[in-house]
Symmetry: C2
Subunit: 247 residues, 2 copies
């Protein structure tokens, strides 16, 4: 058997009646397809916060994993959304088509009411491959472990993810003179928050070790803001400029 409407990977209705749209959406959700609806709608959200959006033309995407996205013609981010794990429902009256995506923990609900549907689509398909990403903080860590002298001559890594009462330290090691060093990694330019984070780790480790000599704190990132640089000095912390990848 070749492609029939129900095995085809893309099914589309243009300018359907609300009833026809409702049936197509229900069918798509049933088949665990990725369903899109474009038309004039209002949107309400209630949960961790609450929001309303008056009528306009928007693109709604319902994913089989329970995610829901409402996109306008502008912006990278959806104007409203719901995370994976929600239950999608569709219902229809004479004048309105209602899409709802709900979940509990936390209890929240997204409601999209269509006055007019211009297009409904249901997409099936296969996608077994995963994204391969490079230039991450993990790449930066590996680069330093491969060549510790990038930080300073004589630096020796002793542990990664070393646990402290304040959380896990990215790299823990010692310098040429045997002093303990806490290293905090950031893949991009850092602000004051990263300095605070490093200071927390240094404090926690000093208590843990009952160190006689103060523990050194090393912030490693491509660059640092002025304010963060001053904070580093105030807190007796150090900075080393280094990128996640060699070039």
């Amino acid at each position: 058997m070749t492609a029939s409407p129900h095995t085809s990977r893309a099914v589309t209705l243009e300018q359907p009646s609300l009833a026809a749209a409702c049936e197509a959406i229900a069918d798509g959700l049933e088949r665990e397809a990725l369903v899109t609806v474009f038309g004039r709608c209002t949107v309400d959200y209630e949960g961790r916060a609450a929001s309303t959006l008056d009528a306009g033309d928007r693109h709604v995407m319902l994913k089989p994993d329970g995610a829901a996205l409402v996109h306008t013609h502008e912006g990278q981010q959806p104007v409203n959304w719901q995370p994976p794990g929600c239950d999608h429902d569709v219902a229809c009256t004479d004048e309105t088509l209602l899409l709802e995506s709900r979940r509990s923990t936390p209890d929240e609900r997204l409601s999209v009411r269509f006055q007019q549907v211009l297009q409904v689509s249901a997409f099936s398909g296969t996608d077994t491959n995963e994204l391969a990403l490079e230039g991450t903080e993990e790449d930066l860590r590996q680069r330093i472990l491969d060549e510790p002298a990038l930080l300073e001559d004589g630096f020796t890594p002793l542990a990664t993810e070393r646990d402290t009462p304040a959380g896990a330290v990215d790299i823990y090691g010692e310098d040429a003179s045997g002093r303990a060093v806490v290293v905090e990694l950031k893949r991009r330019r850092v602000g004051p928050d990263a300095v605070s984070q490093l200071r927390r780790y240094v404090d926690a480790l000093e208590r843990d070790l009952h160190a006689d000599a103060a523990v050194r704190g090393l912030l490693v990132a491509p660059s640092v803001t002025d304010r963060a640089d001053r904070l580093l000095a105030d807190h007796g912390l150090e900075f080393v400029a280094l990128e996640p990848t060699a070039e």
Copy 2:
């Protein structure tokens, strides 16, 4: 004149040839429509980092403001994307349809290569309305300014966004005995990072004021994690439980 293919708010091609898809996409971009393409493709990104994604069925959205989104059947987030401000381009060979979205500052490029296109759509429409959101940190601030006693009897707000060397303080004020108080607001349950942030502000303000008496630090949020609670005690900071909205 009523709806012709070029004035209609939604135009769709199903299972087009790559050449036909290319033409429809170019036309949609030209008309500043929201363009979607579903089909089998590979995706490459190069810019702040770099990524590759092998062939699979995905949904690509090109927005007239320059944003680009590549969605799989799973996840709330696009697997690849490009922010608003990019230039979208489409080109076609015998075997491949290439979508590219580029920008500078930073220089980055997203490339989507389709081997097969199952659907192309171009959506026009109007959406003049904006999202009305409540339950934000700003709502929490307004709630306290309206009724300072929610924090404690005798508290008097003196400034919002008061600048310090460590950044802007949410609310600065004084207590019943005239002691300086720094208030940090969070709309949801807080962890150790918020405690560090507040500690930074208190330190900065004590230096600024050359205060004889220590400045008080008040963290205001719906609740606090155990670890953050211990950090608060360690740093001599206080906590007040309060939600962004009354109910």
